[in-house]
């Protein structure tokens, strides 16, 4: 547990804007997103598909797929700005300081190389060790992620592992240079439900042991509730609400979060039908003016249709909603025109 007494967060994202220039105008996929992650902290990022969660993660590790690009804002890692680094410097950071785990373990590994070779090549790229030491380290890592018979299995090819085992290998690959931040993009979505819990527990344990901070992108609230310290709820490319996980789950503030929490079925309550939020998230080329959620919001009022809310401090959370922009929060604000 090495948490340096830093006076700045490990990762700081400020006003991030990700754009996709297309023939019919520019699509803004991530718009004005700001958050930070402290050393050793687990930040959950939830939201529907297309809310911009994965793109935010890709922007942080500098792997947005063209024509996607960072059009504004800044990303700081350990106080140093990284969103405008040259490719080669960013490459040295990837894998060494910031690891990544992707959604599909079946396709994340190169089918033509043994997992040992993929591990050692990553270790040798980032650490100053001999090939023999790299192999030893790789075997230790495989043992760490719970692969039985690691000494033997290291020389096996990806197709010789099951999905869950492959995701363990992917996690070993993400952690092999001891990064300080891991971006896990839906690491369990492609796995069987019975294996999902194991993988999440593993990720959580390893990161706690190494003091690694995690940005856990998922649309599974259960995973967030179990794992995250804080959670950011994204909607249509913006953060709707961000705060300590307990607050967001127990006392959600933003109507979208409230709807999201309401749609989780509860095992101890008999419900005639599953609660759901009416409507669907707007497409990127049809984001309504004002608050993007207002067409679906049961509490929307005039201001929501015109002005876009920025996150404001409510209790221990930040919420982007005009409902909370009242005199008890911001002195002198005009309420309910």
């Amino acid at each position: 547990m090495a948490r340096p007494p830093a006076n700045h967060p490990l990762l700081e994202v400020r006003d991030l804007r990700v754009e996709f220039p297309t023939r019919r105008g520019t699509l803004v996929a991530v718009d004005g997103v700001s958050f930070h992650i402290d050393p050793g902290e687990v930040l959950g990022v939830v939201g529907e598909s297309g809310a911009g969660k994965s793109l935010t993660g890709a922007a942080i590790i500098g792997l947005l797929e063209p024509p996607g690009r960072i059009a504004g804002g800044e990303i700081r890692f350990d106080g140093r700005r990284i969103d405008n680094l040259p490719y080669e410097q960013m490459r040295r950071l990837r894998g060494k300081e910031i690891g990544a785990v992707f959604q599909d373990p079946l396709t994340s590994l190169n089918p033509l190389y043994t997992i040992g070779r993929q591990l050692t090549e990553t270790i040798l790229t980032h650490l100053d060790v001999t090939p023999a030491e790299a192999r030893e380290r790789a075997i230790r890592l495989l043992q760490d992620v719970g692969i039985p018979g690691a000494e033997r299995r290291i020389d096996h090819y990806p197709h010789q592992f099951s999905g869950g085992m492959r995701q363990r290998v992917v996690i070993a690959l993400a952690l092999c240079a001891n990064p300080r931040l891991v971006i896990a993009d839906e690491p369990t979505t492609a796995l069987d439900v019975s294996i999902q819990a194991q993988i999440i527990t593993l990720l959580k344990r390893l990161c706690r042991e190494h003091g690694t901070a995690v940005m856990l992108v998922t649309h599974d609230m259960g995973v967030i509730a179990e794992t995250a310290d804080r959670v950011a709820v994204m909607y249509a490319g913006r953060i709707a609400e961000i705060g300590p996980v307990r607050d967001v789950i127990k006392t959600p503030k933003h109507p979208y979060t409230i709807g999201l929490m309401g749609s989780i079925p509860k095992i101890d309550r008999r419900e005639a039908r599953l609660a759901q939020i009416d409507g669907a998230m707007p497409r990127l080329n049809a984001i309504p003016p004002g608050c993007a959620f207002h067409p679906r919001c049961p509490k929307a009022f005039d201001r929501c249709r015109v002005e876009r809310p920025d996150p404001i401090h409510v209790d221990r959370s930040h919420v982007a909603c005009w409902l909370y922009d009242r005199d008890d929060v911001r002195v002198g604000a005009v309420v309910d025109e």
């Binding site: 994340s108 190169n110 990553t122 197709h159 690959l173 993400a174």
Partner: protein, 330 residues
């Protein structure tokens, strides 16, 4: 693995028997060898005597079996045109064709693969556009035209390279090689380019599209996320994953290069099998045609077998030995 090789060998033998059957049918259905041998005036008795001498009165399958037995020993009879054993003629011509084909194939690979990788990685650079445009010409222009153009420019106009023949050759046993003399090498350049150009552009376009495909995959994205160098990603991870289709096409193309060197050999008067074949067709020299057919089929079968074995070398999923793996997939 061994079972696979045995299975493929049996298949290969079957293919060869079918080809031999077709080659043998040439004798029976294209022209009549006895009337060719006897000329215009003969009696029925002459005919019967010759047929008996040559075994042509025997049942069809007995004749076929004898043809196959001879063919296996490289025995294809006498050329009608040159009155010499066909195997001798072929052995004389084979080195020229094989050398030309191999040099053309190597040229196609050595130039085509790097160009394909380059255009795949830098798809929007001006050089890629130049390569793609040139390759379009390479794919669409007929071989004989390219050969004649090259002769016109480099042999007639500039006078740098010879326009026909093989130059001086050195004999090593029965093999004659043009690779050891300056004039032999010079003579090889134009025909090899002519013959290899189409394959080169084909390989380049194939490597390019495979590279584009592979670069989009998750494992390349993940390799980038692991911070591997571009070199390791492009040449270690991406290129190797493009190899299976490239090996397939290159292998098949090598067969075609050998088989279709006919045109190039005709344009450059290259003393190889293709030229021999063309001359034999003109004279309905059936033994030579039959032998050529069998030999080309043999090359194709051998190359296919090698290609199949190369798959095993490249792709571990094919060598999967489930018993040893101990893991469960899926």
């Amino acid at each position: 693995m061994i079972a696979f090789v045995i299975r493929r060998l049996i298949q290969s033998v079957l293919v060869m028997i079918v080809v031999a059957f077709v080659a043998f049918s040439l004798f029976t259905y294209v022209g009549d060898p006895i009337s060719i041998m006897l000329g215009q005036d003969y009696t029925e008795a002459d005919r019967a005597r010759i047929a008996a001498e040559l075994g042509l009165d025997r049942p069809f399958f007995v004749q076929f079996a004898r043809f196959v037995a001879n063919a296996v020993q490289g025995e294809f009879g006498l050329s009608y045109r040159l009155a010499r054993p066909v195997d001798e003629l072929i052995a004389e011509r084979l080195p020229a064709t094989l050398e030309l084909s191999l040099v053309a194939a190597i040229f196609a690979l050595v130039v085509g693969v790097p160009m394909g990788v380059y255009t795949g990685l830098n798809r929007d650079s001006w050089l890629s556009r130049v390569f793609m445009t040139v390759s379009l010409i390479g794919v669409s222009l007929p071989t004989f035209l390219i050969g004649i153009l090259l002769i016109f420019v480099f042999a007639v106009h500039l006078g740098w390279l010879p326009s026909f023949g093989r130059g001086e050759v050195v004999h090593i046993g029965w093999w004659s090689t043009g690779l050891l003399t300056v004039s032999g090498l010079k003579a090889l350049i134009l025909p090899a380019i002519t013959l290899g150009l189409f394959q080169m552009t084909l390989i380049m376009r194939l490597v390019r599209s495979e590279m584009l495909e592979v670069l989009r995959t998750d494992y390349i994205k993940f390799a980038r996320a692991r911070g591997l160098t571009n070199r390791a990603i492009h040449f270690g991870h991406a290129l190797k994953n493009t190899l299976v289709p490239v090996i397939t096409i290159t292998g098949l193309q090598l067969g075609s290069i050998i088989a279709f060197s006919i045109i190039t050999e005709t344009v450059f008067q290259w003393p190889g099998m293709g030229l021999l074949f063309i001359q034999s067709v003109n004279f309905a020299d059936i033994p030579v045609m039959a032998a050529y057919l069998c030999l080309i089929a043999f090359f194709f079968v051998v190359i296919n077998l090698i290609v199949d074995l190369l798959y095993y070398v490249v792709d571990p999923r094919l060598r999967a030995d489930r018993g040893v793996a101990g893991g469960h997939t899926g």
